[in-house]
């Protein structure tokens, strides 16, 4: 932890990070990403997704658009974990659907290994879909109740037959189950026979079966109990070390995102407002929204209670069908001035050390640093 400059006692954290970096499969990934010249694995450029709002039953008329994702730029390197946080309705799940090509973007590019996914067809798209897998939030809804666990995990091989020869599939399935911490003898059981945490493991095994390079994790632990949540987080970290996976980790839980991510992007109403390493975003947040978000998170240590600054936001998130002009956050921002209503602030570094989409970005410590 870089906070060590003010506080020498955070050594254990540093050790853990060093250890993790050492295990990272590719030296070019994760930690030196910002300074690395290697090509990023996945790049989103000005990504937009607008859903039409229609009126009428027979003669549908478009009366507007919900700007769910409105100009998102993100980069994901090999073996790296990028955290994407934001409140409900900010568009983070739409980003995940765009990434796995379940939705077509309205505008913008998704570059995977330098090629535009939105223009891919046929064999290329098939290959992309194999390499970029997804884990869903709800382990109850994302597994087919009429299929056995073995069939669920092996289903992808029906399309991508080259990965696992037909003969050894049962054995491969059992290996995968074992790898995610499930008893390999359970291949013939059905999803309802498993608990929430175990089902999430099945979902992870299904994603792993296709040997992906990227896994989009859309709120993978939000539905789980606290004690089980930690098991799944640890499993995801181990798998990343073993297979060199890159994660886009989408969640609303700021603590979990900080724990697992190398870099974190904060999203508000369809666009990224701040991006940086976990220390940048959590230790020196510079966008007012990030600051408010962090100040709302309850802390776990009794001695830190009451030490953190409270920034209470007024009102609710505006509708993405009719977002405010200029800066999206200005209607709830205490720093807002005339310029905020006219000019959308670009996501750039204004001297605070990492990009922030605020005309008046200023780094400020909101969460007390752990002693």
């Amino acid at each position: 932890m870089a906070a060590a400059d003010t506080n020498g006692e955070v050594v254990p954290t540093t050790d853990a990070e060093v250890e993790k970096a050492g295990q990272a499969p590719l030296g070019t990934g994760a930690h030196e990403h910002a300074g690395s010249t290697s090509e990023p694995l996945l790049q989103l450029r000005g990504l937009k997704k607008h859903f039409p709002l229609t009126q009428g039953i027979l003669f549908k008329k478009t009366i507007g658009h919900v700007r769910a994702v409105d100009g998102v730029d993100l980069t994901l390197g090999r073996g790296e974990t990028l955290g994407l946080v934001g409140e409900s309705g900010c568009g983070k799940s739409t980003v995940s659907k765009l990434l796995v090509a379940l939705e077509k973007p309205t505008d913008g590019q998704i570059l995977y290994k330098g090629r535009d996914v939105t223009k891919m067809t046929g064999r290329q798209l098939k290959q992309y879909r194999r390499e970029v897998q997804i884990i869903f939030q709800d382990p109850y809804a994302s597994l087919n109740p009429r299929m056995t666990v073995g069939d669920i995990v092996a289903e992808g091989w029906a399309v991508h037959a080259d990965i696992a020869p037909r003969k050894g599939r049962l054995k491969r399935t059992q290996e995968l189950l074992d790898r995610v911490g499930l008893n390999p003898d359970y291949v013939n059981r059905y999803p309802h026979q498993f608990s929430g945490g175990q089902r999430q493991r099945i979902g992870i095994a299904r994603a792993l079966a296709l040997q992906p390079e990227v896994i989009v994790c859309d709120e993978p632990v939000s539905a789980l109990d606290v004690s089980v949540q930690a098991q799944v987080v640890n499993l995801l970290e181990d798998l990343q070390d073993d297979f060199g996976l890159a994660y886009l980790f989408i969640a609303h839980d700021l603590s979990v995102v900080r724990h697992i991510s190398d870099r974190v992007a904060v999203m508000y109403l369809g666009s990224i407002v701040e991006e940086g390493t976990d220390l940048d975003v959590y230790g020196r947040p510079s966008h007012p929204y990030t600051q408010a978000l962090l100040s709302s998170v309850p802390l776990h240590e009794p001695h830190l209670r009451g030490q953190k600054e409270r920034i209470l936001l007024q009102g609710d998130v505006p509708s993405p069908a009719n977002p405010p002009s200029g800066c999206r956050f200005r209607t709830r921002c205490w720093k807002a001035q005339d310029i905020c209503a006219t000019e959308p602030p670009p996501l750039i570094d204004r001297g605070q050390g990492h990009p922030s989409a605020c005309h008046f970005a200023e780094a400020r410590e909101v969460v007390p640093v752990e002693q």
């Binding site: 932890m1 955070v10 254990p12 954290t13 050790d15 853990a16 990070e17 409140e87 409900s88 608990s195 945490g197 175990q198 109990d225 606290v226 004690s227 089980v228 949540q229 930690a230 098991q231 987080v233 640890n234 970290e237 609303h252 700021l254 603590s255 979990v256 900080r258 724990h259 697992i260 976990d278 220390l279 959590y282 408010a292 978000l293 962090l294 100040s295 709302s296 998170v297 309850p298 802390l299 776990h300 240590e301 009794p302 001695h303 830190l304 209670r305 009451g306 409270r310 209470l312 936001l313 009102g315 609710d316 969460v367 007390p368 640093v369 752990e370």
Partner: protein, 352 residues
Amino acid sequence: MTHPSSTAAAVRGPGDPTAVLEVDDLHVRFRTDSGLVRAVNGLSYTVGAGETLAILGESGSGKSVSAQAIMGILDMPPAEITTGRIWFEGRNLLDLPAEEQRKVRGPGISMIFQDALSSLNPVYSVGYQIGEMFRAHRGTSKKEARTLAVELMERVRIPAAAERVNDYPHQFSGGMRQRVMIAMAIALDPKILIADEPTTALDVTVQAQVMDLLKDLQRETGMGLVLITHDLGVVNEVADKVAVMYAGKAVETGTIDDVFSRPAHPYTEGLMSSVPQVEAKGGRLRPIVGQPPNLARIPDGCSFHPRCSHRRLGTAARPGAECSIDVPPLRPVLPGREAACHYSEEVLGGRG
């Protein structure tokens, strides 16, 4: 935040004079097709005026069922309260006939739920639903009830209350709906408010607003608050004392400061080390192994022993303290602290 000296977890003995609500040895079970589900197995706690008790536990720990038993909203059957007493204002609610219970609970104890949208009636305006409290319990006229509803909506800080009183639940955002439910709950100035995961479905910024509102209302009215949650952060920020529940029992009680800085039960310790914190990236998480137990098949002995890192089995155990055979009672381990573990002293020492 107040920490009156009475918050020391004196959780036993019927008739604690400072307590407004006292739950004593409550047992609730459900008869189901898959067997007898023991949801609550001897839960006891007290809540004083102006005090906040957090009931912390994972899903299936019996925390919501115990609250529903207090409110008398359990479906019986399949549920049955086998033993236990719920003391409120000197009377055991479970001894009273149903109609009498209703009259005591109505104005005295109220409850808010996790999912505000399904807790509100979609076909009545929020003003009508808030006003219903006054009409039903005080015989207020419709017109007056509406005026009182507007006042309450202002008290829970719903903007433009007078214009929104005729709106329907679906026209409100999640945070505002939760406020409507809080307005209904505090309408008759209850002595006790039970909040069952009030902010779990809300975003963090809205969660902070709602928790602030609850604390402010508590300061104004002096009501006791029972906060049921699985979120350690929320517990730390708003509660005075905590009862940690596992498999239908309180496994540890005490003030927040004591329990969170030095847990005495391995389950509490495990919970604390399995949750990442926002104030530091932290090292690898140390989760509790295994799954929470199925309440139809609670393990013998200590219900936590299959997942416990401190357990002692066979000859390693002290006589009478074999974790898979002997049920550990909830016993005092330090002044003001109780824990249900044979080896609490070890757990306390291990972290100190």
